[in-house]
């Protein structure tokens, strides 16, 4: 399923957070959204997910998502790995993963889905009975991604998954994104690590002041001047 965002506007009272934003993410594509703080990246994800009010159009498989409640969006095959992970600290790792099943449309094959997540993130299998709040930051991030994958989404949104993580853990996260993309999932990645995101993504949209300023390809990752220019434009 292709995620199609057209002419998206997000306003919080008098604040115009996203202005006339349009882009697509096809199955098996990894698209980055980068830009300085307040550029409208997270607001875009929140509007897609039904967590923020938006106008324009957000479609998945020709189904309009704008105006739907978050649980309906999740059940339409869109999963969000939120900023700050938002795992349920008091529940066990396995219970957190089971919550991901809430959005899953198929009832069969639960074991295979869990096996797949445990294979991708072995630490989750090792600590499956442990209280999730006791995991390290990197492990919690893996849990948040694993929880989203349990739903078997066709579109995966990630909001700053590398925030606050050690460089070695960031490598694990980006390797996981590559593997997820190869499974045919459309991935939309919001990140602060611009160079890393541009290098890993099929294309990266630079946002500024809520607007799309520039689109970069992986070949631009080494072009520091272009990256800095995009942020300052």
């Amino acid at each position: 399923m292709t995620l199609v965002v057209e002419h998206l506007d997000v306003r919080y009272g008098g604040v115009h957070a996203v202005r006339d934003l349009s882009f697509t993410v096809a199955p098996g594509e990894l698209v980055g959204l980068i830009g300085p703080n307040g550029a409208g990246k997270s607001s875009t994800l929140h509007a897609i997910m039904g967590l923020a009010p938006g106008t324009g159009s957000v479609r998945v498989d020709e189904r309009e998502l704008l105006g739907r409640r978050p649980e309906e969006v999740a059940r339409s095959g869109v999963a969000l790995v939120p900023e700050g992970r938002r795992i349920f600290a008091e529940l066990s790792v396995e219970e957190n993963l089971r919550l991901g099943l809430a959005a899953r449309r198929a009832h069969a094959g639960v074991k295979q889905v869990f096996d797949g997540v445990y294979e991708q993130f072995p630490v989750l299998h090792e600590f499956r009975a442990r209280q999730a709040g006791l995991l390290s930051g990197g492990q919690q991030q893996q849990l948040a991604i694993g929880r989203a994958l349990v739903a078997e989404p066709e579109v995966l949104l990630l909001d700053e998954p590398s925030l606050g993580l050690a460089p070695s853990v960031v490598d694990v996260v980006f390797a996981a994104l590559e593997a997820i993309k190869e499974r045919g999932i459309a991935v939309l990645l919001v990140e602060q690590r611009a160079q890393r995101t541009v290098a890993a993504s099929d294309r990266s949209h630079v946002l500024g002041g809520g607007e799309l300023r520039l689109t970069l390809g992986p070949q631009d990752a080494g072009d520091t001047e272009k990256l800095v220019g995009a942020y300052l434009s």
Binding site: A74, E90, R98, Q131, S136, G137
Partner: protein
């Protein structure tokens, strides 16, 4: 003041009943962040259903079925007509709405049944004593403890072993994230409201055994005491809230029986003085020993 075995048994029974009320209030608070002040009026409605059933000469079981039907229907109507349209409003708005519902139901009961109320006699046989090791204890004291224990056990199984239980726990911890994961808020809240209503019906049956005279303010005082108990125990967590309800019920039951008749009017003052003292010393709740375990 002399404490007898019967006083202790009464305290345990009232503690058990209050624990069930605390769970009923705590479940709805968990998923809606709403302190349902009208909870006592659900119990009152169930008690009137039992009173009417006994007045009409219905057998006990049909009276209990009617009690459950009335309370569950009212619970669902309360959710559909008041809580759901106001969802997302400030806690103050929601609280005032529950006050309004409480007084509305109380005044409807006043109009229909009058201030003198009705007598529920269908289950008063449980007031007769059993003799255990030479000590006479009313059957209701033992039945209340057993019923409460079974209800709490079943509820614990539901919350820890089922999908809907997991969704209810997640929603009470972080409803936005739970919804974002696909947990259907309406379904979770509906189930919590229904379970809360079922507990109110059970409480109605047990309270009418102890107090067969059902008036429009039936269970109102109990609800206020339980709300205090829930806050004293720890409103944010189900087990401390339940313990808070039990402790305040136990204390009220024991002191109510043990205080001389000419001093029993001081009981509410004593209980609420203790509540204030506890809140001053442990504002987060007497039984809330949780720590923040999240690592960053």
């Amino acid at each position: 003041m002399t404490v007898t075995w019967q006083n202790l048994a009464d305290g345990l029974a009232l503690g058990a009943i209050y624990a069930l009320m605390a769970v009923g209030i705590g479940l709805v608070f968990g998923v809606l962040r709403l302190v349902n002040f009208a909870y006592g009026q659900l119990v009152m409605a169930g008690a009137f259903a039992l009173a009417l059933a006994s007045q009409w000469g219905w057998p006990l079981w049909t009276g209990i079925v009617l009690c459950f039907a009335v309370v569950l229907t009212l619970s669902m109507l309360m959710d559909r007509l008041v809580f759901r349209p106001l969802r997302g409003q400030s806690p103050a708005v929601m609280l005032v709405a529950t006050f309004a519902v409480a007084f509305l139901l109380e005044n409807v009961a006043l109009l229909w049944f009058g201030s003198l109320g009705k007598i529920a006699t269908s289950v008063t046989s449980l007031n007769r004593p059993w003799t255990l090791s030479g000590v006479e204890i009313r059957k209701i004291s033992i039945v209340a403890v057993i019923v409460a224990a079974v209800c709490l056990l079943l509820l614990n199984q539901l919350l820890t072993r089922t999908e809907i239980g997991l969704h209810m726990r997640a929603s009470s911890l972080d409803s936005v994230t739970a919804r974002m994961l696909g947990v259907r808020a309406d379904r979770v809240i509906g189930v919590a409201v229904l379970i809360s209503g079922a507990l109110a019906a059970i409480v109605a049956v047990m309270l009418t055994v102890q107090t067969p005279l059902v008036t429009p303010d039936f269970a109102l005082r109990d609800t206020i005491v339980v709300l205090a108990g829930v806050v004293v125990g720890g409103l944010n967590r189900p087990i401390p809230a339940t313990l808070g309800g039990f402790v305040i019920g136990f204390a009220t039951g024991v002191l109510g029986g043990a205080l001389p008749t000419n001093q029993s009017q001081y009981l509410p003052a004593l209980v609420f003085a203790a509540v204030i003292l506890v809140l001053l010393v442990r504002p987060r709740g007497l039984f809330d020993f949780s720590r923040t375990v999240e690592r960053v």
